[in-house]
């Protein structure tokens, strides 16, 4: 999930670097105290944005902000996440265009969704199951519909072609159309997806707008990127201009009776993305004129954090969807030694990282790879407190058969706060008998460096970050630690450390087959514990926090941490 992680990288740079400036601020959220139930219709809401929207085409959207805003405004999905009434509430899966959250076969390989009656496009035509089928097919046109998630390609029961990639090449080239028609079938208002393997949380997967309907007669390929064709409560008025924004007005074809998620309170929503995070936060904090009616999806930058607390009652300090962690490289001689990995984990001083990041208001030490926003969060205790235990680690290292000091080379993404954090981590590791060499790699090439095959013989430990695509840990554990879907001759994929264990693979397969959501998420949590406390294949470091501010007239707006971790438009309204 590069898109989201990348944006978060930028945002958290700012957040991490500063909240030290407002170290004494309270960490509770202000906006959660506002009453949600009494919304009134009308008014204009402004979205101030310092981030250029790359795509509005539902099949190309992969950024949390755009998934959520798109879904709440104009791209309804079969299933979505319900709204929340506080920043900390856990959202529930909710039927959206479909009548329920999907019916799954016994083996978890066949999913059927049935469309509601009365759901329409903005031109008044009914949304059909064929529209959904066509929408999903666009993901396969990887040369035109770029940027979106690949879950349709990964999950649908369509063979790969020998050259790599799916044998189905999408609706434009039509190669392999028969294969797609077999995997996705339509009967009346129902659509059935046949999957390669058991995916018990596929109804979570379809909450991504990549599984939203798309009308074939409106498809202009890349030209459709910003051509919003709505089926939600709002539609675009005029054109969308990249790096400037657009205006959304009510879509009179949307029927409130078909929608249990969106309240659609404002009459108009104006999205202005010509700003910078710095100036838009100045404006939100100053709270003048129409800025009183504004929200933002950009987390507060460094410059704003000191003043965020002056916007009391209209700020949110919440867990971000991102977790930072370390991966030992199993291809390195040192890190393939079980005791050496354990020693590294024990000697890891997370308090140094938290301090460098800006203190406990912006970063929280963790020993779980799964983010606290997810139901699967196992909350594994830290192995030796926040500071670690270098003395005990040294005993382990001495028993490992390696000669002390043990040289290791650790990579991280170049950034000021990480320079400090890793200087602190190095002290702990060196005290345990390691001789740490730190390698800072520029941000834009960081992950591609990790994924290059030659890195396996160069580095011993990598820093990395991740946020789940949807609130199921199946978008955390397998994408990062299942070597079968990651490691190829071309590199490690996202299993940067080449961790591969048959027993672990068997447990992944078992977890995928559990039908009950609670039991399944618990299984993922157990796998997380195995990674961090049995194999030491992953050393979680911290969870980031996000800080947001909104204008004083905006009510009923809460961060939906379960869905994407940003303000949820579903219940937002403007005080007149």
């Amino acid at each position: 999930m590069k898109r989201r992680s990348f944006i978060a990288g930028l945002a958290t740079t700012a957040v991490l670097a500063t909240i030290s400036a407002c170290g004494s601020s309270s960490s509770t959220s202000g906006s959660s105290s506002a009453a949600a139930a009494t919304g009134t219709k009308g008014g204009t809401l402004y979205v101030l944005s310092g981030t250029a929207t790359e795509h509005w085409d539902p099949q190309r959207v992969y950024v949390g902000v755009n998934i959520e805003y798109g879904n709440r405004m104009f791209t309804r999905t079969l299933v979505s996440w319900g709204p929340v009434t506080s920043d900390t509430e856990v959202a529930k899966l909710a039927a959206d265009l479909a009548t329920d959250t999907g019916k799954v076969s016994e083996d978890g390989k066949t999913w059927t969704f049935t469309l509601k009656d009365g759901v329409k496009w903005e031109d008044g035509k009914d949304i059909t199951a064929d529209d959904v089928k066509y929408g999903v097919s666009r993901t396969f046109a990887v040369d035109v519909i770029t940027g979106g998630p690949n879950y349709a390609i990964a999950f649908l029961d369509i063979p790969d072609d020998p050259a790599g990639g799916s044998a189905y090449k999408g609706p434009y080239a039509k190669t392999g159309q028969d294969l797609y028609d077999k995997a996705v079938t339509v009967s009346g208002k129902s659509i059935t997806f046949k999957l390669k393997q058991s995916v018990m949380d596929f109804n979570n997967t379809v909450t991504m707008t990549a599984f939203a309907p798309f009308r074939q007669d409106k498809d202009l390929g890349d030209k459709s990127n910003y051509q919003i064709f709505s089926n939600g409560p709002y539609k675009l008025e005029g054109m969308w201009t990249a790096e400037k924004g657009g205006t959304f007005v009510r879509n009179d074809q949307w029927s409130e009776a078909t929608d249990t998620i969106r309240k659609a309170y404002p009459d108009k929503v104006i999205w202005d993305e010509s700003l910078t995070p710095e100036t838009l936060y100045e404006r939100l904090i100053a709270d003048q004129g129409t800025d009183k009616n504004a929200i933002t999806y950009d987390p507060a930058p460094t410059t704003a954090l000191a003043n965020v607390t002056t916007a009391s009652g209209r700020n949110s300090i919440v867990a971000s969807p991102y977790t930072r962690y370390l991966v030992p490289n199993y291809k390195s001689k040192v890190m393939s030694n079980d005791k050496a990995r354990q020693a590294l984990a024990l000697a890891t001083d997370r308090s140094a990282y938290v301090t460098a990041a800006g203190g406990s208001q912006v970063a929280v030490a963790t020993n779980s790879l799964i983010n606290p926003n997810l139901p699967a969060f196992p909350n594994t205790p830290l192995p030796a407190g926040e500071k670690g235990d270098p003395a005990k680690a040294k005993e382990l290292l001495q028993a490992s058969g390696l000669t002390l000091p043990v040289k290791i080379s650790v990579t991280y993404r170049k950034r000021d706060d990480l320079d400090k954090a890793f200087a602190g981590l190095k002290l702990g590791w060196d005290a345990a008998g390691f001789e740490t060499e730190l390698v800072a790699i520029p941000a834009k090439t960081y992950y591609s460096t990790l994924q290059a095959p030659e890195s396996a013989s160069k580095y011993d430990v990598y820093w990395a970050g991740w946020g789940a695509d949807y609130p199921s840990a199946s978008t955390v554990i397998p994408p990062l630690f299942d070597s079968r879907i990651n490691v190829t001759a071309g590199g490690p994929g996202q299993d940067y450390g080449y961790f591969a264990d048959p027993e672990f693979h068997a447990k992944i397969d078992a977890a995928n087959k559990i039908a009950d959501m609670t039991a399944r998420e618990k299984a993922w949590g157990d796998l997380d514990k195995d990674l961090t406390s049995k194999y030491y294949a992953c050393i979680p470091l911290i969870d980031d926090k996000f800080v947001f501010v909104h204008g004083s007239n905006v009510q009923g707006v809460f961060v939906n941490g379960t869905y994407t971790g940003y303000y949820d438009m579903a219940t937002a309204w403007v005080k007149q």
Partner: protein, 339 residues
């Protein structure tokens, strides 16, 4: 004069070809893979390859450059895929000549991006230009005529302060206090002149002041220095002795002679600004050419980078040419001699 113009224009074309060619070559010499910027972190080699092909990055540099040049003359179609053009003509974007290219990250032609950005840059540049020429040259004349007295000291002192303050500082202070905190002027948003001339100016006052500040300061000093120099020339003393009116001497004899170097500087400064006032546009979030250039570099949007380099250099080269032509009119001593 005609042959002179033809020769100069030909050299402009050669220069632009060289500049764009170098930009292309430099971009491809860098170790970054532009296709990677279009692919996600869960990018597979086949998707990467597909994107590279769709964007034409798989072709050799000289082929890509050739296509760029021919697009300038005859226009281009995007994506450059004959199969798609045959099957789905509705998906093809036609970019008419002179086609500057297509931005994959914004899904539109660079011509349309430039079409939206240049009125912004021109509005900022011209308004600021008028402001700083009046303040700068006027202030310079007053300072020169009162050399050593208090008006001179004050003007030169202010100029020094104005010159020392960086553009982003002045811009941020004006934006934060005047626009956001006091609400005395609107937070600048570009409003086309044709739509509402008053709002156009009202919105641009802050960027104009910001940009004019630093230029006015240097023009005060420039004008003062040249005025002092010319006013001590013998022919000024002669004119004084003849009993000519004071202002006639200052404007016709003094300023006109001092103007030549000022016009040179002004022409080049304006030419540079027409290509975008990067810092001012960034501070006020005005999406002119400067802003477009910065965002294209951060996004590694190659086609936009090349087009922006070309446009900015074109403005500078053309401004140079215009300045040279203007010399002939301002300074009678400069004449083209047919050899």
């Amino acid at each position: 004069m005609f042959y002179y113009l033809v020769r100069r224009l030909a050299s402009v074309v050669v220069m632009l070809v060289l500049i764009t060619g170098t930009t292309f070559a430099l971009f491809f010499a860098s170790p970054l893979d532009p296709a990677k910027y279009t692919c996600g972190r869960n990018c597979t080699p086949s998707i990467l390859e597909g994107n590279r092909k769709a964007l034409g990055y798989d072709q050799p540099v000289y082929v890509q450059y050739g296509k760029f040049l021919s697009g300038l003359v005859v226009g281009r179609d995007y994506p450059d895929n004959a199969q798609l053009r045959a099957d789905h003509p509705e998906q093809i974007v036609h970019c008419p000549a002179p086609c500057l290219g297509y931005s994959p990250s914004q899904s539109r032609t660079i011509n349309s991006m430039v079409g939206e950005a240049w009125p912004v840059s021109i509005s900022i540049a011209l308004g600021a230009f008028v402001m700083w020429m009046i303040v700068g040259v006027g202030g310079g004349i007053i300072a020169a005529l009162n050399r050593g007295k208090w008006p001179d000291r004050i003007i030169v002192g202010l100029a020094l302060i104005g010159f020392s303050l960086p553009t982003f500082f002045i811009g941020l202070v004006l934006l934060t206090f005047v626009a956001i905190k006091w609400g005395a002027l609107p937070i600048p948003r570009y409003m086309p002149f044709t739509e509402n001339p008053f709002e156009w100016a009202h919105n641009l006052v802050l960027p104009w002041i910001t940009l004019a500040c630093i230029f006015a300061a240097s023009y005060v000093r420039l004008t003062r220095a040249y005025m002092i120099e010319t006013m001590s020339e013998d022919y000024i003393r002669t004119a004084l002795a003849k009993g000519l009116g004071k202002w006639r001497i200052i404007l016709r004899h003094g300023l006109r002679a001092a103007l030549t170097p000022i016009v040179t500087a002004a022409g080049l400064d304006l030419g540079g600004l027409l290509g975008g006032a990067i810092i001012t546009e960034s501070v006020f979030s005005l999406h002119g050419l400067g802003w477009t250039a910065v965002s294209s570099v951060t996004n590694m949007d190659l086609p936009v980078i090349v087009a922006m380099v070309m446009i900015v250099s074109a403005f500078i080269v053309l401004a140079n040419l215009l300045v040279d032509i203007a010399y002939g009119f301002i300074d009678p001593r400069v004449q083209l001699v047919a050899s």
